[in-house]
Amino acid sequence: MRPKLAVWKFSSCDGCQLTLLDCEDELLALAERVEIAYFLEATRAELAGPYDISLVEGSISTAEELARIQEVRAQSRCLITIGACATAGGIQALRNTRDHEALKATVYARPEFIDALDTSTPIADHVPVDHQLYGCPIDRRQLLDTLLALLKGRQPLIPDHSQCVECKLQGTPCVVVTRGEPCLGPVTRAGCGNLCPRVGRGCYGCFGPKEAPNTAALAEQLLALGSDRHSLRDLFAGFTGGAPAFQKESQRHDA
């Protein structure tokens, strides 16, 4: 019997789920190895749980989600969070360090209609997770590799080291060193396929903090190279700004 795969959505934009559909050349072969049991973005057919593998997209942003993630966990043998929202709270975690009521009043004409928690938090804050796939959106090859690894019972390849390693494996010249361009690569986890630096852009950290990120030393260097404090505050407060290391560094420059 094929293992049952479910894909769940919490507070998110759907882009990470789309990455699964984006596996156009591999999707049919993959569907022969797993039974797609719950994936509303692809099919309205639903099979009842439990599920062998659950991919969870999105952050916990409402009271309803707070309860639902417990059900998803209970129904899932292996739970994999996918993307910046599920692993770090996403861009919507910007509210975590601000006055939520005031933000609602600024953004919405009728803020009383908004029924959301004051914070947007990663899935792992609420239930145990087995693996995490990072990025905004996640990387297609990493998603496939992780599914194939689970099907074979081997270790998925999800590096914890810096984006710099990916740059140097690719032979991409460092944008900080050659141009003084602000780049979060030295404190950001690898895995994206070197997308931004490869085209000469600084990394904006969508894969979140690497292990032991020295954000303060990087920030000092970027200041010396001409960044101002507000741009540093904003750089660290991007798609994974809710991750503790980045949130703390962002706040250090919010004066």
Binding site: E26, A29, L30, E32, R33, L144, D145, L148, A149, L151, K152, R154, Q155, L157, P159, D160, H161, S162, C164, V165, K168, L169, Q170, G171, T172, P173, C174, V176, V177, T178, R179, G180, C183, G185, P186, V187, G200, E211, A212, P213, N214, A217, L218, E220, Q221
Partner: protein
């Protein structure tokens, strides 16, 4: 073989490229790519970064005009010859459900590198000692190494990050090349002294159009190297091996860790860092698996992972591991230093940590070794 070498005109470089291509070599050289120099295939001497230098300092490498049209005023591409002989990622074997491994056979395209620098030649020899001359020969490494034809260029202008003189690895190539060029850039004549270092190099030298070099020509070439050595601003403190072996518990490692990003850039541009890890991949249908090797770094947490956890969790311990292995324990392991003084780790460190300055800081902080 003309032992004394030949003087060729600057335009003779184009003939050299043609001769190498005619002998079946893919010709590689430092080329301008995305505002940096990297080793790339070239079609013609016109592809060389003529008139360009990489102005390097700690944490900063910028390509600028040199103000003259010499071919080799630049020094080093971002990464050395390592990429050519030990690729960043490489499949070791594949196997099917019978679990019988099918090793990726050794195979290599013959490559000629024009502009290999003296430090990089020593680095290549250092890598060869690790991969090829040890008890477990890496056959794929050997195939790639043996398919290399090396045209060294003796440095005329050290980058500000260079310290090869103090490591005794340059700026003049002593060995390890097939041909060695010294660019003679003089108002009345722009050309090269070409010397052969191997039989294959001698054969090529015979075919190059030029005049036999005179003693005066060789003296002019030596003067180029002497001027380069004299212009070198950085140096590694003497007896750095002994120094580091007395510094294991020094608080300075913590001071470095305050600045170090543990990003691994230094190890990725180091021409002798040889560490790798292996990763298993499986096919979509689950019927085949592959084992790949890719470059790894002692600056990553996973590198020191053993049963129960990583041994080097702190950045201080990772920097100490890298520096003491490179400069001290390499001597115990391989009978030489692991550092060739190319200075890439200084220039390409995003925060500009300088291995010579850190060694000097330790030297200043520690009493000199007592007489035995």
């Amino acid at each position: 073989m003309s032992d004394a070498g030949k003087i060729i005109a600057a335009a003779g470089l184009e003939q050299l490229v043609r001769l190498l291509r005619a002998r079946g070599f893919e010709v590689w050289a430092a080329r301008e790519q995305a505002e940096a120099l990297s080793l790339q295939p070239i079609e013609s001497a016109e592809d060389l970064p003529r008139g360009r230098i990489e102005a390097a300092e700690a944490g900063k490498v910028r390509l600028v005009a040199s103000g003259r049209d010499a071919y080799f005023d630049h020094t080093l591409p971002m990464q050395g010859l390592k990429r050519l002989v030990s690729p960043p990622e490489e499949r070791l074997f594949a196997c099917g459900e019978d679990l019988v491994p099918h090793e990726t056979p050794p195979a290599a395209t013959p490559k000629a590198v024009i502009g290999a620098r003296p430090c990089d030649l020593v680095a290549l020899d250092t890598l060869t000692q690790v991969f090829q001359d040890g008890p477990q020969e890496d056959r794929r490494y050997r195939a790639r190494r043996e398919a290399l034809f090396l045209v060294a260029v003796n440095c005329a202008r050290p980058a500000a990050t260079c310290f090869c003189s103090s490591m005794d690895t340059g700026p003049r190539a002593e060995a390890g090349y097939d041909l060695a060029l010294t660019e003679l850039y003089e108002p009345e004549a722009h050309g090269f002294l070409v010397e052969a270092g191997s039989a294959a190099g001698g054969e090529l030298l015979e075919a190059l159009e030029g005049e036999p070099a005179s003693a005066a020509d060789r003296q002019r070439a030596l003067a180029v190297s002497e001027a380069a050595a004299a212009a070198m601003a950085r140096a590694m403190p003497s007896d750095v091996e002994g120094l580091l072996k007395r510094a294991y518990e020094h608080p300075h490692w913590e001071a470095v860790a305050e600045r170090c990003l543990a990003c691994a850039n230094c190890t990725m541009v180091c021409p002798t860092c040889f560490c790798g890890t292996v990763e298993d991949r499986s096919s979509l249908d689950g019927a085949t698996a592959e084992r790949w090797r890719r470059w790894d770094s002692c600056f990553t947490l996973d590198f020191s992972y053993i049963h129960g956890g990583a041994v080097r969790k702190e950045t201080a311990s990772r920097y100490r591991q890298w520096m003491t292995h490179k400069l001290a324990h390499w001597h115990d392991q391989f009978g030489r230093s692991g550092c060739v003084g190319c200075g890439r780790c200084i220039g390409w460190c995003p925060v500009g940590i300088d291995i010579t300055a850190e060694a000097q800081a330790l030297a200043d902080a520690l009493p000199a070794a007592k007489e035995a």
